[in-house]
Amino acid sequence: MQDTHLIPLPSLCTHYEIEMSFFDGLNDHGLIEIVSVEKTYCIHQDKIADLEKMIRLHQDLHLNVEGIDAVFNLLDKIDNLQTELMIAHNKLKRFEDF
């Protein structure tokens, strides 16, 4: 993991107007991975899109970390089911013209 791709959490707290404890909670639930670089806690920039989604769910819907965890698990399930559906759909095409 390159340091240049890491974003310091204190900047994110200011940026999104959110408390550090929120990120700690996400980290405790395994929803994000916080890394320490020279005594500064950071998150990888590839995880920003997911993190923003978590912040929106927290701010817009007042979901706590447990709720966000549940939502992410369900969204993962939907994603997997959609992939399975796509594969099944493609398998069916083999038999369409028979």
Partner: protein, 298 residues
């Protein structure tokens, strides 16, 4: 621009308390939040509508303004005079029920909202930077196009995007191009571009993932006596040895002659050949005689 009935959007009546409005908004937000309804344009629109309705109705000053001028927002203060002249009811009838949800475009707010509450109200919103919207695009390709990795230039929202399409991409598969979506809000990062592939198959091969399937028709004599046959694969021809007395429906596997495996360079699936033995449709007298001879031998 059409009038938008914010009370109707939230499903509350005009006498609803702040608490009723908050409750109704939260219920709608949980149901239609775009993060809970990915790629659902209708949910996104309903969320925008609920958000806007909440912003107006949960703010005393704006609710008062909306209640006072709502249906006559275009006339603003002039409406006050018009009201005195008792023309209110006539004007109200100009707005039809069916127009209520028009005016919501790609932006965050409807034209109605922008016109009525404008910039002043928006300044009260936080200055938080947000990542831009994800863009969705569809790309139709022929099965032959995705047999090899290809570079293409796509034009999305007037911008040219150079794209490498890996061999083996599947029908319905979505590829994410980072940072090629909508611009961020308040200077936030760009969203992503999500491209869904539609793979059109006009070949004689059926595809299941990286495996290909093909039916080869054999004459009765070839199936009985066996011999060499030439079979078309996806990228050429192969010579196959056919065993004598090959049964109808026999399947053979040609390892590595299928479709490229997605993002696994140099790896291919298998090609499955199913033999379909075709009986003669006409027999000459001589052939019939010979078949009868054969039948007697059984």
């Amino acid at each position: 621009m059409a009038f938008i009935d914010y009370y109707k959007i939230l499903g509350v009546d005009k006498n609803a308390t702040k608490s009723d409005i908050k409750k109704a908004y939260r219920k709608m937000a949980r149901k239609y939040h775009p993060d809970l309804n990915p790629n659902d344009k209708e949910a996104e629109l309903k969320f925008k509508q609920a958000n806007e309705a909440n912003e107006v109705l949960s703010n005393d000053e704006n609710r008062k303004k909306y209640d006072k001028y709502g249906e006559n927002w275009q006339h603003g203060e002039a409406y006050e005079q018009a009201q005195q002249q008792q023309r209110q009811s006539q004007q109200q009838r100009q707005y039809q029920e069916g127009q209520q949800f028009e005016g919501f475009g790609e932006g965050e707010y409807s034209d109605f909202f922008e016109s009525m509450f404008g910039g002043g109200f928006r300044q009260s919103r936080s200055n938080v930077k947000f990542r831009g919207q994800d863009f969705n695009a569809n790309l139709e390709l022929n099965l032959r196009d995705v047999y090899t990795t290809e570079k293409r230039v796509l034009t999305v929202n007037g911008k040219n995007i150079r794209l490498t399409i890996p061999a083996g991409v599947q029908d319905g598969q979505v590829i994410k191009i980072k940072g090629k979506g909508g611009p961020g809000i308040n200077g936030g990062p760009h969203g992503d571009l999500l491209i869904e592939f539609k793979i059109v198959n006009t070949t004689e091969f059926k595809r299941d993932g990286s495996n290909l399937y093909k039916t080869v028709t054999l004459s009765l004599y070839k199936a009985v006596l066996g011999g060499d046959i030439m079979v078309d694969t996806f990228d050429g021809k192969v010579k196959l040895k056919l065993k004598p007395l090959t049964q109808n429906g026999t399947q053979v596997k040609l390892s590595g002659k299928g479709f490229p495996k997605y993002k696994k360079d140099g790896q291919f699936g298998d090609l499955y050949i199913t033999y379909n033995v075709e009986l003669p449709k006409k027999l000459s007298d001589k052939e019939k005689e010979l078949f009868e001879e054969l039948a007697k031998l059984q």
